[in-house]
């Protein structure tokens, strides 16, 4: 879609916004790429308002094989990304309450409740989201998305395509791969019908290839954080994750990550760290606490602690190695079927062990979130096992990804302070 006027309109809108808050002294210089990231995401949501009638709109889950949709030129919206945005703006409780007052339980995932609150009220910090023509979800990140999307499909009376990704209890079987590949092939006529566009394998291969390169670049970006000091914090990465989640397969994401990588490599070469003094290096497990990113980033930076890796950000780079443009269907099944949340805890433990070693991590913070069962169930045992094996100080904080009502500041701060003391004591032994 042509975006004539969109950047100009967006910069005009920026004039009316309040200035951003000053950066605390504990942080290094902010990334130049932040500005470009805001432009890209702002443009994406801005253009989405004018999409209906020009393109078909699909709402998609973060782990779904979106490359297939790109081949049909769908404009994609990621409700999870939108819910994170609502959470980051500390509006999660408001949207959740709308869903709850309409009968949805407070015990449901807050991403889902926010999205359902949006669906029921039309509210959005992005102005307005376009009504979907199609829903596309995969349970490779959780079963929750199926229940959530089928609710939307029912309410809006629109088609839902579900990509069933069998959980990898031990290893992915040939039958699993065959089943997933067949599902992808079976989607083509449905997607042709909904989009009105014809499927061309060559175009699809180009998209797939671009997506693979983008994911690989994202992986390289994360690897730059092995440097000491790390050129960005994981809290920066949580923000820079957005394009790989929601614009994967598009040139804009591909180009953006090359810019970001260049900047990070430059910072590594110049020894510029994300925080002014990096004495301890940490790993983060689970999705971000979106409404407390700034609090957590500052809390740790002031104690000279930097999060240099996370299981969450790694998820969009971890399985790209399986992608093979010459064997798209089976390789997509392998890529999308084996991601961290669709894989057993032994796999996750191995992954975390490698990350802890490769990134020279001194301590671990696990966010136990009531919204995400596949991420949270098992964390107690992972903590014990990794702590014992690697002699790694660790803490678990109870919170939620986007519903700020769950946050208990005093309790969490006390736990984190105790963790920091343990970490410092361990370093002095």
């Amino acid at each position: 879609m042509r975006d004539v006027g969109a950047p100009a309109l967006m910069s005009f809108r920026d004039l009316t916004r309040r200035k951003s808050r000053p950066v605390p002294e504990a942080f290094g210089p902010p990334l130049r790429s932040n500005k470009r990231l805001k432009e890209i995401l702002g443009r994406h949501y801005f253009l989405s308002r004018y999409v209906p009638g020009a393109k078909k709109v699909a709402w998609v889950t973060s782990g779904a094989p979106v490359e297939l949709l790109r081949a049909f030129d769908f404009y994609t919206i990621y409700p999870e990304n939108h819910s994170a945005l609502v959470g980051a703006k500390k509006n999660g409780a408001e949207y959740c309450s709308i869903a709850e007052s309409d009968g949805f339980s407070q015990d449901l995932c807050s991403y889902a409740r926010i999205d359902l609150g949006h669906m029921l009220s039309g509210k959005s910090p992005a102005g307005k989201l376009p009504r979907p023509d199609l829903l596309f979800c995969s349970n490779n990140i959780c079963q929750t998305v199926i229940y959530w999307y089928k609710t939307i499909a029912h309410e809006l009376n629109i088609p839902l395509i579900h990509f069933d990704a069998p959980f990898v209890s031990t290893k992915q079987s040939e039958a699993d791969v065959r089943y997933m590949a067949q599902q992808l092939l079976d989607m083509i006529p449905i997607l042709e019908q909904v989009s009105g566009n014809v499927f061309y394998l060559n175009d699809f291969e180009t998209i797939l290839s671009r997506s693979q390169e983008t994911s690989q670049t994202w992986g390289t970006i994360l690897q730059t954080m092995r440097a000491k000091p790390a050129p960005m914090t994981i809290f920066d990465a949580f923000g820079h994750l957005a394009p790989i989640v929601s614009l994967r397969g598009l040139p804009v994401a591909h180009d953006y990550y090359n810019i970001l990588l260049e900047e990070l490599e430059e910072r590594v070469a110049l020894g510029i760290g994300a925080i002014t003094e990096e004495r301890y290096r940490l790993i983060w497990d689970n999705i971000a606490v979106w409404y407390k990113v700034r609090f957590l980033a500052t809390f740790f930076a002031e104690r000279k602690m930097n999060f240099v890796t996370a299981t969450y950000t790694n998820a969009w780079a971890e399985t790209t190695c399986h992608l093979d443009v010459k064997d798209p269907w089976s390789s997509m099944a392998k890529t999308y079927g084996q991601i961290i949340l669709n894989n057993n805890l032994k796999h996750r433990m191995g992954l975390m062990r490698d990350m802890i070693k490769n990134f020279e991590v001194d301590g671990m913070v696990m966010h136990s979130t009531r919204s995400c069962k596949p991420y949270s169930v098992g964390q107690f045992d992972l903590r014990r096992a990794l702590g014992a094996e690697l002699n790694l100080p660790a803490v678990i904080i109870d919170a939620d990804i986007a519903d700020e009502r769950v946050w208990s500041e005093q309790q969490i701060q006390t736990r984190l302070e105790a963790f920091c003391e343990t970490l410092e004591d361990a370093a002095h032994v």
Partner: protein, 365 residues
């Protein structure tokens, strides 16, 4: 006479019976029977949750927590392993937790149940899963005897057929069992030998003519029936649960009687795809709404009781739409949330009495 679950399983173990602990909910029990394994299902074992709290957060559903508590404290009756069918995110991870992190002295198996709207690919895949599971069992227990498997399917078919007859009889007031007795009968399937269970089912008399109708007729939906004390309270109030849509109950019985099994794998595949709509299979909400409305209509239910297990995401997502749709049909709805604790809370009692009072005028009118 329904045997006590714990005593029955102890006796079975003493007799050298292979027993496998099976977590909720959908699995091909006929395959286990064919290997002379008795599945003992673990849904809501009694007792306080102590050890499981070291492994699970407070916001995890009580079925998962109580199951883990059972596994951690089990006295050695389960000797042939644990089976974790793929039901929800929490049970999925619990399976991996028990197998990969905690460790138990018996094998841990998993069984994937496909999700979503089913098609030809799903059907082919389910056949593959059955064959893979058969092979996994064969690796431990020796090669499968196809005739034995066929016989197990035939036995399962007879049990399903009798269960359907009893369901129909319940809906038309031709069973003399109260709700507490009825659900004890249904739940005996979770631990009894199939031959014993079929015998038990056949002992239940179906009357030719309807007995006196209940004062108020309820359809129940959810994962498990309410506990005995709640059921007894409902019975005392004259509330008859005339139909059920429970995961531990009729959602595991096909909606139609199948042909006798020629090819066991084909038969078990057909059986899976003929199960009623269920939140854990994540099919369409429309389908489930229609199914529940029909069940309410066929059973002449006057109200619907949702017995929701706390933190159960699959049920909680469907719940809101189902309630709206049933209310639109003019059916009063009572939703109870349970943490699987014994007893009957004052609050639950009051809520049940309130709906009875509200309906009382209409029923009497």
């Amino acid at each position: 006479m329904i045997p006590n679950r714990s005593e029955y399983l102890k006796q079975q173990a003493l007799q050298g019976q292979k027993i496998m602990g099976v977590l909720p909910a959908l699995y091909p029990k006929e395959l286990l029977w064919a290997f002379d394994i008795l599945p003992a299902e673990i849904w809501d074992p009694p007792g306080d949750i102590v050890k499981a709290n070291r492994h699970l957060q407070t916001t995890i559903c009580p079925i998962v927590k109580q199951s883990l508590e059972f596994i951690l404290t089990e006295p050695g009756i389960v000797n042939a392993g644990y089976l974790f069918p793929h039901t929800c995110d929490s049970l999925q991870n619990l399976g991996s937790q028990v197998k990969d992190m905690i460790g138990v002295p018996v094998p841990v198996y998993t069984f994937y149940n496909p999700k979503g709207n089913f098609n030809k690919a799903t059907r082919a895949y389910y056949g593959d899963i059955l064959n893979e599971f058969l092979q996994v069992l064969a690796d431990v227990h020796g090669p499968p005897d196809i005739e034995k498997l066929r016989a197990a399917c035939e036995l399962g078919l007879k049990i399903d057929g009798r269960r359907i007859e009893l369901q129909q009889a319940r809906m038309t007031d031709r069973l003399s069992l109260n709700s507490q007795q009825y659900f004890q009968l249904i739940r005996a399937a979770e631990f009894m030998q199939p031959v014993d269970y079929l015998y038990l089912l056949n002992q239940v008399e179906i009357q030719d003519e309807p007995l006196k109708s209940h004062a108020i007729r309820f359809l129940i939906s959810g994962i498990l029936p309410p506990n005995d004390m709640t059921l007894s309270f409902l019975d005392d109030l004259g509330i008859g649960i005339v139909a059920e849509d429970l995961l531990a109950g009729s959602r595991r019985i096909p909606i139609a009687t199948l042909d006798p099994p020629a090819d066991p794998i084909e038969y078990l595949t057909d059986r899976f795809f003929l199960l009623p709509p269920c939140s854990t299979k994540a099919g369409s909400l429309d389908h489930r709404q229609q199914y529940l409305k029909k069940l309410a209509s066929d059973s002449k239910a006057q109200a619907v009781l949702f017995n929701i297990v706390k933190f159960c995401e699959p049920e909680l997502f469907d719940h809101r739409s189902l309630v709206k749709s049933l209310k639109n049909e003019g059916l009063p709805v009572l939703s109870l949330e349970t943490e699987l604790l014994p007893g009957l809370s004052g609050q639950t009692q009051t809520r049940i009495e309130a709906i009875v009072e509200m309906m009382g005028d209409e029923v009497l009118a």
